[in-house]
Structures are given as C-alpha cells and as structure tokens.
C-alpha cells in the first residue's frame, strides 16, 4: 500500500524558506548568547526597596511602567468593543441542550469559590504572585463555566459596561491625581510608608490600581467570552 502523499510545492518551498530563516536566526542567537550583564531591571529592584511593594513585578507593571499597563487596558477595551460590534445577537446559535444536572449544580457551587479566588489573587497582587490580570482572567473563567453549563445564563450587558467604564475612568483619573499632586502622571500620591511593605495596606496607589485593572480585565474578558458564545444582547 502506498501511503506516500504528494506534497504540494507551495508547502515544500514554505518549509524550505522558514527553515532557512529560522536556522539563520538560531545561528546568530547562539553565536552571541546574552549572558549576565547589567540590566535596567536590577536598578528597578534597588529602587523598589524605596518606593515599591513586596511583589516587584507588580511594582514594575503598575508603577514603574504604568503607562504600558494603561495602554494594554486600552487594547483590551478596544478589542472587547470590536468583538461586541462584530458579533451581533443571534439567538439561533444559543446552546440547544440543557446541560447535565451534575454539571449545573457543581458549577453553581464552584462559581462563588472561583470568584473569591479571583478576588483574592487580585487584592493580594502586590504581596504574592498574581495580580489584576490573573485575577480578572480567573473571574472570567468562572463566568465561562456558568455560560457553558447554564443554557440561559447571561451577565447583563449593562453590568459589564458599568464595571469597565468605572474602572477605566478611575484609572485615568488616578493618573491625573498624580499629575496634579506630584507632577508626574500615575504618581503615587497616597502616603505609603515603606516600613509597611508586606502588609495588605501598603504601597499607596499600587494595589488600588491593580484592583482596578482586575475589575477591568475581568469584565472585559467576560464580555469577550460571552460575545464569542453568541449571546450578546448588545443594542
């Protein structure tokens, strides 16, 4: 039996082209492996001892490189807006069958726990691994669980919009407060004693912003997931 298939020339040439490109890349990368050297991150680690919170990644994400995070929130916001714009309500595509009773009960029981865990990850983002993005995505995964297990479940569109608007606006307003009080956008204007590092109430504006980011990410991801499941009630 001949199991050899004819491979189209397009595939072969694509294979050859990408192989050549990647081999060149590997050669250059291996020739000059970046080993230990002075990086900006080390300076930020030192600076973190004076101005930061216990989780240095959080300080970098929210404070030292705060504008990146603002921009990233904007990207997510626009994407969820675009998904909502594209996928108009289409009731025919709703799940037809009611899912299993066990799945329904279990997911109803699990959802509060997932929500709690998401909020925990969000609120303790400046002390332990985790933070707004991770917490927000955990919450959205809980919403996804409910969406696939309950035929008629839906987070009301207005709730999602309200959360994301309030979160987005307050993020920029906190930035403006920093500009007014400290003369730098997103400055840390809430008193933060560095001796408190490691406490829940520490770091001034940093945990606040990360919670806002969490709310925003959670609501937007839930919105995207819900829209992709064709259950949008967008008018």
């Amino acid at each position: 039996m001949n199991i050899k298939r004819d491979i189209p020339t397009a595939t072969l040439s694509g294979f050859a082209l990408s192989a050549v490109l990647v081999l060149t890349l590997i050669t250059i990368l291996l020739q000059y492996l970046p080993l230990s050297q002075q990086r900006v991150g080390d300076a930020l680690l030192v600076l973190n001892e004076k101005e930061g919170v216990a989780n240095v990644v959080t300080t970098v994400v929210v404070y030292f490189r705060g504008f990146d995070t603002l921009g990233e929130i904007a990207v997510l916001f626009i994407a969820s807006l675009g998904v909502g714009l594209m996928l108009q309500p289409n009731t025919e595509c709703r799940l037809k069958a009611e899912s299993n009773f066990m799945l329904q009960t279990a997911s109803t029981l699990l959802f509060p726990l997932i929500l709690l865990f998401g909020i925990y990850v969000m609120v303790y983002g400046h002390l332990s691994p985790g933070g707004g993005f991770q917490g927000g995505v955990i919450i959205a995964s809980g919403v996804l669980l409910l969406l696939i297990s309950h035929k008629n479940f839906e987070v009301p569109h207005t709730v999602i919009v309200a959360f994301e608007t309030v979160a987005g606006v307050s993020y920029v307003l906190i930035g403006f407060m920093g500009l007014l009080l400290l003369d730098t956008f997103l400055g840390n204007f809430i008193p933060h004693d560095i001796a408190n590092m490691g406490m829940l109430l520490s770091g001034g504006v940093i945990p606040l912003i990360y919670i806002i980011v969490g709310i925003k990410v959670g609501s937007e991801m839930s919105g995207i997931v819900q829209n992709l499941m064709q259950r949008s009630d967008d008018v």
Partner: protein
C-alpha cells in the same frame, strides 16, 4: 551525570533551540496554511515562541523570584522583573488581537461562507 546541564550556557542554548523550533512551526504554518483559523493559530505559536525565548534567556537559575518576603530580602539575589512584566503585557495584547480576529472571521464566514485566505478576493473585479 547531568550536572553540565546546569551551566547557564547550556540552558540558554537549549532554550534558544526550543523556542526557535517553535517559531519555525509557527512561521511554516503562516506561510503554507490557508485556513484562517490555522493562520491565527500559527501567529499565536510564533508569539509564544518569542515569549519563551525572552523569559528563558533572561532567567537566571541561581536567582529567586522577585518577591520580597520574610525569607527573601536581598534584591541582589532576585531575577530581573522587567521581562515578566513585559511578557504579561504582550500576552494580553496578543490575546486581544486574536479574539478580535476570530470575531472578524466568524462574521465573514457568516456572510460569505469562506474560510480560506486565498479565496478572500472580493476586491478583484
């Protein structure tokens, strides 16, 4: 017997080879596949390859995670936090673009029934 694997050069070579072979898979898919969802998957694979390359090459085995707690207070022994922060941002952006692309593709499919990118040529007339 395998102690030589702990040397930073060896680790970094392995990371580079692995990430670049993943990049190759994505690039190959991007150049040869026609189905729109496969193209999106190829793009996602290429992105992950770059994330892996960055984290792998900037990671130092001897250092710990950059979180200050009761047992870890020396910043000199901590890993660089910037790559992690950058990749966190890049992952979210990549996901947002993919979600948007998939929604475009769904809507386009509903209107025209086409899924292959080489048949998308409404403009030629």
């Amino acid at each position: 017997m395998f102690e030589f694997l702990n040397q930073p050069e060896v680790i970094k070579t392995i990371v580079t080879l692995g990430a670049m072979s993943l990049f190759f898979v994505g690039l190959f898919g991007l150049l040869t596949r026609k189905h729109i969802v496969k193209v999106f998957i190829s793009i996602a694979i290429m992105e992950s390859a770059i994330f892996l390359l960055f984290i792998g090459l900037s990671f130092n085995r001897e250092k710990v995670a950059p979180i200050i707690d009761a047992t870890q207070t020396q910043v000199a022994t901590m890993n660089d936090p910037i790559p992690q922060a950058m990749i966190l941002t890049a992952i979210v952006i990549g996901m947002a673009v993919l979600a948007l692309g998939v929604s475009f593709a769904i809507e386009y499919y509903k209107l025209t029934g086409k899924t292959e990118i080489d048949t998308m040529n409404e403009m030629r007339f």
